[in-house]
Subunit: 312 residues, 2 copies
């Protein structure tokens, strides 16, 4: 049992923002109280390797090896392999660091031997000393695809990294398996509360919700979200532009609540953003939501858990 | 045309010793006069990547990026990926450097797309600015296998690196394709002279000779070798022990000549080793054969070419 009365918490997470909240949740809760379900819709192959950007961001953050200011990648990193790949005329639009390559090599080799992604993930997290239980949303390929105004349909990473999110989004969809990884539905069914991290709903959370049975299982639980919108702007990334393009409204915490269509019992927003949630059935609490260091993460995680407990 | 009257020279090469001679040959001859055929019997998969140790040693040496004193690998190298692989409990008996990984990643990804090894090899060498024509002995898998007294049959790298050549060799054989890569037979047929580098005959040169038609084509040409045995000892590696175990005689330049069974028109040996060749039909010339720097390589390459020219 944590201080908040929760013994089973599930958090849905994308990359940087979600990982920062997780760092706090992992310290605010006992090791066995937290299960994380991570988006793998951004997974892709590069240099022949299977890259799982969100799983790695969560792993590096939880292990304390991550680059804290940047929020992704490893703190101490070199780029010797990339330098050689460039000499050979290889793809260099996605910069993989040398230490990071160790992760991708072990994962890719294990997947090639038939080890499922959730088992490889457990091994990698264990290797870095992380005791939190972390599950990929699915063991199978499921790619987030972006239909754009100007560039047709792009796989997520090409739109996000190669095109720097410049092409305006018309639609987001998911190409592949909808079978959740073993343990995902069971963890949701057993959860006292489900926290949706401050991740992009369209490309980080919706891929998880699209897995068979996940949304239905969540509708039976208490779900709270941490708003990724602060004062009408996204803390990071192209979310504000996506809300404008896809919902035809300005970005706000209220737009996030409406996006989830009744799923949320409560949303924790930046102080001053509470009014945007008015008119919905969702409870709201305000606080300081931008996390710049680990102390922020822990404080905010406790406040979100307190808020969730107050909804009981 | 070179100073020696040769406009077409083929050199058969393994790793370190062969690569050092090649560095001299490449400077002693015009760019278009030299074709190198490299052993790929040592190729293996590690961390899911296709590793071609001898091709890489030749490439790094010819490009000037190699570690000159050690003779293999890159001069400036880091081991960040290896450090992470160790944390995950992955295989660490073969140390792949970070910059070196760039080579293996590009090669493996191209092979997976169906690009043949000789084409990938040409692309890699071109990327590092090497103008010498370098061919793998074959495009197809062909593994050098070592039958040992104590440890059964081992693939070459397991015997060489993992077991540090300790298990006594009973037999060396080749498992896989015997189809030479495109251009190999044509280069031999067109050669004025063929130079066998100071490589281990059993595990570096015999795999090339085992390719269909290679030995027969060589028997029609003038072939000279640079002895890898100096004063009864191998310059590098387990060759002396292998000669003892496999031929039942002490290591000598003469044993090398007898091993090649009439293939050699001449052998260039260390000063003082000439007598061991007596009683064979092979011409001999002595000189200083140990290469410790690039000046040695160029001097020796010129002396070997002079010697070969004298046999016309």
């Amino acid at each position: 049992m944590s201080d908040h009365g929760f013994s089973r918490v599930v958090c849905l997470s994308g990359g940087v923002g979600g990982a920062r909240l997780l760092h706090g949740l992992a310290r605010a809760l006992p090791d066995d109280a937290l299960t994380v379900v991570v988006n793998t819709g951004d997974d892709f192959r590069h240099w022949g390797l299977h890259i799982s950007p969100d799983l790695d961001t969560v792993m590096y953050t939880l292990s304390g090896l991550g680059h804290e200011a940047r929020g992704w990648g490893l703190a101490e990193e070199s780029f010797g392999a990339l330098e050689m790949v460039k000499r050979y005329g290889g793809d260099d639009w996605f910069a993989l660091g040398d230490r990071d390559l160790g992760t991708h090599l072990v994962r890719t080799e294990a997947l090639a031997r038939g080890v499922p992604l959730h088992a490889v993930t457990a091994r990698l997290f264990r290797g870095l000393g992380v005791r939190t239980r972390v599950l990929p949303m699915t063991d199978d390929p499921c790619r987030t695809m972006i239909d754009t105004e100007s560039d047709g349909t792009l796989p997520f990473q090409e739109w996000f990294v190669k095109k720097r999110t410049a092409p305006v989004v018309k639609r987001v969809w998911f190409d592949g398996s909808q079978t959740p990884a073993p343990g995902v539905i069971e963890a949701i069914d057993a959860a006292d509360v489900i926290v949706i991290g401050p991740s992009n709903p369209y490309v980080s959370v919706d891929p998880i919700l699209a897995m068979d049975g996940v949304r239905e299982a969540m509708e039976r639980r208490r779900v709270v979200a941490l708003s990724p919108i602060v004062g009408g702007r996204a803390v990071k990334g192209p979310l504000a532009e996506m809300i404008r393009a896809l919902r035809g409204e300005e970005a706000s915490a209220g737009a996030i609540v409406r996006h989830y269509e009744g799923l949320l019992a409560g949303i924790f927003v930046e102080q001053g953003d509470e009014a945007s949630v008015e008119g919905t059935a969702c409870a709201v609490r305000g606080g300081r939501t931008v996390m710049t260091d680990r102390a922020d993460s822990l404080r905010l995680a406790r406040e979100v858990l307190d808020f969730a407990a107050s909804l009981g």
